[in-house]
Symmetry: C2
Subunit: 234 residues, 2 copies
């Protein structure tokens, strides 16, 4: 009997936005893995910290800050090998995932390496997407409105094409792309519909009009653009 | 002191996918409102059933099955008036919301009627979007891949334009639109990348290739279309 690989979504940051299932799985875990920076605290671990059993084996998957290639294949190769050893010994492994494991998550790099050999269960989590909508107190999308989810690093031409239709949009992973994105949104005449959110659900949350956003944005920040009229026909 | 209106996301259906915060707010609630059909059980209430205090006042918001207008304005006008009376009396009101309150949710109809007069707090929930990705065991979107979220009732021309770029997509609210959507996806050559999910996370969940989907789909069903290569550069 092999163990099961659990990809467990933790939600956007507030530990109270963990699901009951995530809480149960983490509380009972013998082996817990999570992404971690090469210096400083793991954000995923910090969300779950109060729930991690003191006698659990913890396996940080250290992602170097300055990686030349994207993603860090050798890091995930090594981590998969470590986790495979536990799974082969019949022990379940819980992988802590910020947000949701399958929504722009790094869990997929472990999933693609291990899912052929071991049973995998994914526990979905609250995404930053809806956490940011709650933070600005505005519906993300309504009725039959399309919603475009766009990573900020996409080239200008692709962002422009996808934003120009006037539909609701969320731009993820804003970070160092903020000045470029701000210019592009202004060019499209969408600034008055755009909000900026960083650190959603955490004590240092910012949720403000894009026009008031700071010069420098953290990686986990988002721009939400309302559709032409969120209450149209409402 | 007026009460606070809480829009509380319950997740996609499995009660264990409720957040700890939703659990806390519902457990302590004196007044609980939820959408309900004119006959049969409220899906939102069924998710939270085990947590609702026996002495809480329950206010079903009955949405007639066959409504001529979209949405049912008079129903929400009347419900808002009922809830406003409790809030004015200083009592908090918890509104139970399937999935997430601001992700294609009917909570917005109460929000737009009450947010000017009363404090509102939104508790985000796990959406059907990521629950469906977990069900088919495939990442929804990866790295810098855009994701299009498209309601199934959109006209063919708009769906076609938004699907033809080859990006990852999720088509919500499939229901009676399934035959039309299936034809359109086949025309675009995307059938082999498309999955069908209904009743995600519930005991009767279906998560299968679109080609194997049944003739008739429930309203809460979804089609997920993988991007050109979910593991590109992976």
């Amino acid at each position: 009997m092999t163990g099961t690989l659990h990809g467990v979504g933790l939600g956007p940051g507030d530990p109270e936005l963990m699901t009951l299932r995530a809480h149960r799985l983490i509380s009972a875990a013998q082996v817990i893995a999570y992404p971690a920076p090469d210096s400083g605290e793991s954000f995923a671990r910090s969300i779950a910290a109060a729930v991690i059993p003191t006698d659990a084996e913890e396996i940080p998957i250290v992602i170097p800050m300055r990686i030349e290639r994207f993603p860090a294949q050798d890091v995930y190769d090594a981590a998969a090998k470590t986790l495979a050893a536990r799974l082969s010994a019949g022990v379940d492994v819980v992988v802590l995932c910020e947000g949701d494991p399958f929504f722009y998550g790094s869990f997929m790099y472990l999933f693609e390496r291990l899912a052929r050999d071991f049973p995998v269960e994914v526990t979905p989590g609250v995404t930053s997407l809806t956490a940011c909508a709650a933070a600005i107190q505005r519906p993300l999308c309504a009725r039959n409105e399309p919603l475009s989810i766009l990573p900020g690093p996409l080239p200008d031409a692709e962002l422009r094409a996808r934003l120009s239709g006037g539909a609701a949009a969320a731009i993820m992973k804003v970070g160092r792309h903020l000045p470029r994105l701000r210019t592009l949104i202004e060019d499209l005449g969408l600034t008055n519909r755009a909000s900026y959110v960083s650190h959603a659900t955490l004590p240092n949350q910012a949720a403000i009009p894009l026009a008031q956003a700071p010069e420098a944005a953290p990686y986990f920040s988002m721009i939400l653009i309302a559709g032409s009229d969120p209450y149209a026909n409402g």
